[in-house]
């Protein structure tokens, strides 16, 4: 008779325990709180009401949600569209220069969101940054501060995710079989078209997954919108923090967070399903 070995199964307890302590526990707590009643004097009262979820279905939250989705989508698209060709060019350089760029990208990634945000605030300020430079060059007659604005927020977000995407593609691009691109050339593809005819199609699945990853990442950014965006540019993360912390409405903040989480999970699930179907084809 085959003996049932327990030890190999016990090892699964470790990730499960970690997940429970750091993720599932707080999540469950958040879900519970989202049904509580707000107490304007205290924090919340134990209850079971749908009122917090009901509040989501108002034009204000609708527009915040749509804005969050739109901004994240735009930022992720811009990031991937800029970072992929950039790293494609970098891996074509000599080893020494590649190293310089990779170290630079790693350094950029090491900077906190706050530091990058401040750097942009200064660069876009009227007195010390790009506007002043443009004014001095005579390219901009009446230079004014570029931040806070929607554009400033997008620039901040893209510079936050750029190094992530670039480094995500670095190993894949540097280890790719370059003979494939040469084969395309021998078969008649002009060098300038090889990138679009062969490289992009081959990396299509990887590009799609990086788009989804960056989209989810940008849904959760908090510092860039608050530092570089105007209140009308704020995304859901900022609104949740505003409700939960500033206005001490924990149950509403929790409910909004749960809705956002459900949306994100559906999105990732949908993507996984789509790629699975594509793979089976």
């Amino acid at each position: 008779m085959k003996r049932f070995a327990i030890a190999p199964h016990l090892i699964g307890l470790y990730p499960l325990g970690m997940m429970t302590i750091f993720f599932l526990g707080p999540l469950a707590f958040m879900v519970v709180v989202s049904f509580y009643l707000r107490d304007p004097l205290g924090f919340y009262k134990v209850d079971f009401v749908w009122e917090n979820y009901g509040k989501f279905f108002s034009s204000f939250y609708y527009s915040v949600s749509l804005r969050s989705i739109w901004t994240s989508a735009l930022a992720s698209l811009l990031t991937v569209a800029l970072a992929f060709p950039a790293i494609f060019i970098i891996v074509g350089m000599r080893r020494k220069w590649q190293l310089v760029w990779v170290i630079g990208l790693l350094a950029l990634m090491c900077l906190s969101e706050v530091v990058i945000g401040f750097a942009w605030v200064i660069l876009m300020s009227e007195s010390a940054g790009i506007p002043r430079l443009l004014g001095w060059l005579g390219l901009w007659e009446n230079p004014r501060s570029l931040s806070p604005s929607r554009l400033a927020m997008l620039i901040g977000m893209v510079s936050l995710g750029f190094s992530l995407v670039a480094l995500m593609f670095y190993p894949q691009l540097s280890q790719r079989d370059r003979a494939i691109e040469e084969a395309a050339q021998t078969l008649g593809t002009p060098p300038a078209k090889v990138f679009f005819k062969v490289v992009l199609p081959i990396f299509r699945p990887a590009l799609a997954s990086s788009l989804v990853t960056m989209f989810v990442f940008y849904l959760g950014v908090y510092v860039m919108p608050t530092m570089l965006g105007r209140p009308q540019d704020w995304n859901m993360s900022v609104i949740i923090t505003d409700k939960a912390v500033e206005q001490a409405n924990m149950p509403l903040g929790a409910a909004l967070a749960v809705i956002m989480l459900v949306f994100t999970v559906l999105l990732i699930g949908g993507f996984a399903l789509a790629t699975r179907k594509e793979g089976a084809k």
Binding site: A179, E182, Q185, L187, T189
Partner: protein, 349 residues
């Protein structure tokens, strides 16, 4: 079909000279093998012909026209890469039809041509199969079909079979040779495997250190090597440094190898003599009276042949004979080695 001529091709990478003054003419419809050890410049020469690399100096003429200024994508060359370099996102048929797609051929015609080629390389009905679902041999065939689909002026192959097991490799060598004969396309095949080169080439070009050592038919390079390198690189060989004196025996380390006849009789001075193991004969000690006596170091059976390795005063001599009887000598035995000078070849110096 096309004629190729390389004129004084030189390629350097910084201090390193990959190719040095390479001159080579290739006839229309010929099957050429570029043979040599790794780093000899054979792949560089192929890549220069394909336009994937530029020569430092020299020019290439194809059918008399300068090829140097033509960019790679306009050369109309069918190339099979060592890694095969199939397009992973395309199906078998789409891979084969890629070159036609780039040339703007209509969809139905592409499909018809791809079907024709899958048939030709022995992969009928696999048009829609993703390339990831193919075996190693099938992938080879797709790569060959893709290169031939564009009706190339030249068909180039860069060590295409090096990743395959011996049986499949031999099978594909024969198929490629037959295919090439059928289509008559001028073919240049790079390999480091001399057996492969011997079995498929019309003419073998042996490169070493960026220089052509010899270009000739398989028989020529085997029987009449132009240099010591070729003598040793192609097949198993015994290269002996001997002393010729007109009217006297050929001497090797104080041992007489017999009296030379014909052209060899008029030679004098130190020369390198190449003598293939199959032209040596072994006899039990003390039976022939020859001065060349060796000690058997190693005996191995190679199917049709028995190979015997002997040492004669510190030099290694290899003998092979047909294995129609069990080996007559064992390790440690002493044997007399008989050399037939009629089958020996004096390497030009």
């Amino acid at each position: 079909m096309a004629q190729v001529s390389f004129n004084r091709i030189r390629r350097t990478y910084g201090e390193f000279t990959a190719l040095d003054d390479v001159n080579l003419g290739i006839e229309s419809g010929e099957f050429i093998c570029l043979l040599g050890p790794s780093g000899c410049g054979k792949t560089t020469l192929l890549r220069i012909l394909a336009g994937l690399e530029q020569p430092t100096a020299g020019d290439i003429l194809v059918d008399g026209a300068d090829f140097g200024a033509v960019p790679c994508h306009r050369r109309n060359i069918g190339m099979v890469f060592q890694s095969l370099a199939l397009f992973p996102h395309l199906s078998v048929g789409e891979n084969i039809a890629y070159g036609l797609d780039v040339r703007g051929v209509a969809k139905e015609q592409r499909r018809a041509r791809a079907d024709e080629l899958t048939e030709l390389v022995g992969l009928p009905g696999l048009y829609d199969r993703p390339v990831s679902a193919l075996s190693g041999g099938q992938r080879q065939r797709v790569a060959i079909a893709r290169a031939l689909a564009i009706e190339p002026v030249l068909f180039l192959m860069d060590e295409p079979f090096s990743a395959l097991d011996a049986g499949l490799r031999e099978h594909l060598q024969i198929e490629v040779k037959k295919l090439q004969r059928k289509l008559g396309v001028t073919t240049i095949f790079v390999t480091h495997d001399q057996n492969e080169a011997m079995s498929i080439a019309d003419r073998i070009v042996i490169l070493n250190g960026g220089v052509i050592e010899q270009a000739g038919t398989p028989t020529e390079v085997y029987a009449r090597p132009r240099s010591e390198f070729v003598a040793n690189f192609v097949g198993t060989n015994n290269v002996l440094e001997v002393e010729f004196t007109p009217g006297a025996d050929v001497m090797w380390n104080g041992i007489s190898l017999g009296r030379p006849t014909g052209d060899m009789a008029s030679l004098h001075g130190r020369r390198k003599l190449s003598i293939r193991p199959e032209y040596l004969q072994l006899a039990p000690a003390g039976t022939t009276g020859t001065g060349m006596v060796g000690t058997v170091e190693f005996v191995r059976l190679l199917g049709a042949q028995i190979e015997t390795e002997l040492t004669v005063s510190g030099h290694t001599i290899i003998d092979t004979m047909i294995s129609d009887r069990p080996p007559a000598f064992g390790e440690g035995d002493t044997a007399e080695i008989l050399i037939n000078l009629d089958h020996a070849w004096v390497i030009p110096s």
